[in-house]
């Protein structure tokens, strides 16, 4: 009973009805193609953006690496700084505690602490 109902089902239009289905299919296909092309274009531009960003990032990374290298080598430079061993400094000795004869030919001034 129900089978018969299904078979008769909705009225199917013959003739021009088929063309509509074809037209619909064509329209759908065109839409899919258009969408695909659009997506492809978008993907292309996205790829370009990503590539550009990547290269910008690489540049920045190189800059950072250079900076890190500079900072990393700084302590060694600082250790080398300080008084110039080739210079003669006039260190005040008057009134400072000393050991040895006041008129000694060699005076060693010692900057020191207790800890």
């Amino acid at each position: 009973m129900s089978r018969q109902n299904l078979k008769e089902g909705p009225p199917v239009r013959r003739g021009s009805g088929m063309t509509w289905i074809e037209m619909g299919t064509l329209a759908g296909l065109a839409a899919v193609l258009a969408l695909g092309a659009d997506t492809w274009r978008e993907t292309r531009s996205l790829q370009k953006t990503v590539t550009d960003r990547m290269s910008a990032l690489e540049t920045r990374l190189t800059q950072v690496a250079t900076k890190v290298d500079t900072i990393g080598s700084r302590p060694a430079q600082q250790a080398q700084r300080g008084p110039d061993p080739n210079k003669v400094y006039a260190i005040k000795t008057e009134g400072a505690p000393f050991e040895g004869p006041k008129a000694a030919p060699v005076t060693i001034a010692e900057f020191s602490d207790f800890q």
């Binding site: 600082q78 700084r81 300080g82 008084p83 110039d84 061993p85 210079k87 003669v88 400094y89 006039a90 260190i91 005040k92 000795t93 009134g95 400072a96 505690p97 000393f98 050991e99 040895g100 004869p101 006041k102 000694a104 030919p105 060699v106 005076t107 060693i108 001034a109 010692e110 900057f111 020191s112 602490d113 207790f114 800890q115």
Partner: protein, 150 residues
């Protein structure tokens, strides 16, 4: 080794990151006011695990100092001006760590082996036509000696 040829002058340079250093330097300055800098220096230097004011006052007593005067000096931070002047001088010539030595004005950092000191001292003596003590010459000739720039 150098007998009467060398004089050692003390310059205060308490490092910023040593919290107990300022009081220790004040204590030696207070002792210096009574002519006992080096004995106080030796006591503090000899027991760096016991660095506080009570300990310094005990040292002052042991050294026979006028304790009232010593305490007053600490109370008023009397030695601070001298200590600060030394720190300022150290910084002005670029000293950043201790000990730092100036042999007749020539800089030597404390991390140097003895023979480098001897080399500089000997050069200073030679400049003044003063004979180098034989013991100092022997020290330089010893293994690892090698005085730079004769």
């Amino acid at each position: 080794m150098y007998g009467d040829k060398v004089r050692i002058v003390w310059k205060h340079f308490p490092l910023d990151f040593h919290p107990k250093a300022p009081m220790a330097h004040l204590a030696t300055a207070a002792a210096a006011e009574q002519g006992k800098f080096w004995p106080m220096h030796d006591k503090i230097f000899g027991a760096q695990d016991k660095m506080d004011r009570a300990q310094y006052e005990q040292y002052a007593k042991d050294l026979g100092l006028d304790l009232k005067r010593f305490k007053e000096s600490l109370d008023t931070a009397h030695g601070k001006a001298v200590i600060d002047a030394d720190i300022a001088e150290a910084k002005s010539v670029g000293v950043t760590g201790t000990p730092a030595f100036f042999v007749n004005g020539r800089f030597l950092s404390g991390a140097k082996p003895f023979n480098e000191f001897a080399a500089v001292i000997n050069a200073e003596l030679q400049k003044q036509n003063i004979p180098i003590p034989p013991a100092a010459q022997q020290a330089l000739a010893a293994p690892g000696g090698g005085a730079p720039g004769k």
